[in-house]
């Protein structure tokens, strides 16, 4: 079967004025559908950049990127936005909920942007699985970090994305909440065969994944 993520010699160079910052220096990556992959590595080695490229938030500088059959070299900004809308769910270290909306609306807005309208069955299933039924009418400031991150996960998966991209999802959580969130990601992967690419510094988190990739200086380390 064709892998859902395939990159070869993927490079990403940031330009800050005249200075070039090579964040990815040739990444080769293959992820089959349904796999739960953890990415580890020192700070600044390009993990977040890799996630942003795979999620279509930013364009690669060179190299091949194929995600769910989409060739990034042939995609412009609007194409990548559409791709992201239909195939990607993001979870961030800082939760990134919209502060003025309730938990329910934070989840619903993803469905709204996707354009398929509100799906009550999917909504109910996700909300129950993440254990946030009682928190739906709260705004983010009235939720604990763990609760906010669970709402963020619900928002990320509500539209059934092909890939869930999580950037240090437990980085701002205590160990108890980290464990809850990790178990939920594991559960999503198990019960929905959700493909997950998760960046983490946390050895417990990495241990939960099917596979751990290590990065350094913009490249994957072979083990």
């Amino acid at each position: 079967m064709e892998p859902i993520i395939l990159t070869s010699d993927l490079k990403k160079i940031y330009r800050i004025g005249k200075v070039e910052v090579p964040a990815l220096r040739g990444v080769d990556l293959v992820v089959p559908e349904g796999e739960f992959v953890a990415v580890a590595g020192p700070s600044g080695c390009g993990k977040s950049t890799l996630l942003h490229v795979l999620g279509g938030l930013t364009a690669p500088t060179s190299g091949k990127v194929l995600v769910d059959g989409n060739d990034f070299s042939a995609m412009n900004d609007a194409d990548r936005t559409r791709f992201r809308r239909h195939k990607i769910g993001f979870v961030f270290q800082r939760f990134n909920l919209l502060p003025t909306l309730t938990a329910r609306n934070n989840i619903a807005i993803a469905q709204h942007i996707q354009g398929n309208g509100f799906n009550p069955h999917r909504f109910q299933a996700i909300v129950e699985m993440l254990g946030i039924q009682g928190k739906l009418n709260h705004r983010p400031y009235a939720l604990s970090g763990g609760e906010q991150q669970r709402v963020a996960i619900a928002r990320a998966v509500i539209c059934e994305p092909k890939i869930l991209l999580a950037d240090e999802p437990t980085g701002n959580l205590d160990s108890e909440n980290s464990q809850i969130v990790l178990n939920m990601l594991r559960g999503l992967n198990r019960s929905f065969r959700q493909t997950i690419l998760m960046i983490t510094h946390n050895p417990d988190a990495a241990a939960l994944a099917d596979r751990v990739l290590r990065m350094r200086d913009g490249r994957m380390l072979l083990d």
Partner: protein, 367 residues
Amino acid sequence: METKMVISNLLHRPTRTIISILAVAIEVGLVMLTVGMTTGMLSETARRVEGIGADIIVQPPGASFLMGFTPAPMPIKIGDLLEEKVEHVAHVLPVLILMNVGVGVNIVFGINREQFDAVTGGFVFHSGGWFTGPDDIIVDDLYAKAGHLKVGQKLTLFSHSFRITGIVEHGKGARLFIPLQTDEELNQTQDKASIFFVKCTDPGYTDDAISGIRQFLPTYPVRSMAEYTSLYSSNNLPALNTFIEALICIALTIGFLVIFLSMYTTITERTREIGILKSLGASKSYIMSLILREAATICVLGIAAGEVGTLGARRVLQSSFPTLAVRLTPHWMVYAAVLAMGGTVLGAVYPALRAASLDPVDALAYE
């Protein structure tokens, strides 16, 4: 859903929302009051001239249609001649007009009782009665109300002390009336009039009478009452039109700038939120429409507040300044609203474009 977002954003920053709404309200109010006061003043003046009840108006050559801007008055004899010689002319009322520039500009009519009554059908007195001496003055009820004046009180005009002998129902040309002769003395003229109000034997003969008068006075502007009052529009007063346009421009600029600043700062403040929406796959047009809707909501609330506020302001103005006419037409209420909406959209477009073109990675990293 977008509506929910817009409303929650507006409620989240109540001060900014209220200030922006207020700015739009002031913009709308400024336009409506300016136009309302100028058109009100003009149409009220026209109605007052109409109230004289004449059929034809004769002015000296070169005179502006605006009463009071008359270069050289005409001999009163002309009026007598018209009355005698022109067919269908029943009565002629000569008036010598003075302008009193005090609190506001007031037109003073110098009149003779007999001719005034013949053309207008006479005053309706609220109190008091006609002049009995040269230093007497008649004022209309609105002028009296504005100045809290009573019959018997003194009133100084043109450094001349008058005694109020009568307070009359408004609507007969001017608000202030003095004896023609006194007027002539103040004006240092004799047997002169600035305007003739002509009454026909029957209104049906107006056109014939006009031709008759024109034969007599070929260089004098002779107009029917309808034609004359139709001149009282800002289109015939280029300076006034320019003034109105300038004020509308200022109002529009205020609205534009406030919306621009309000939306611009809110975009900066919400950079991360925009990044979040982009990470969820929101397109440029989605984000633009969100910003424009927010601005439009502010604008609609501002228009409503502005129009209600203007209606309220008019009530207050008219009870404290009875001589002030403020005319608010539906046409101008719609026009003010359209102008405000135009200014808002213009003000919001650039911030919206900026928000839509933010780089999602940078926006998400924004502190």
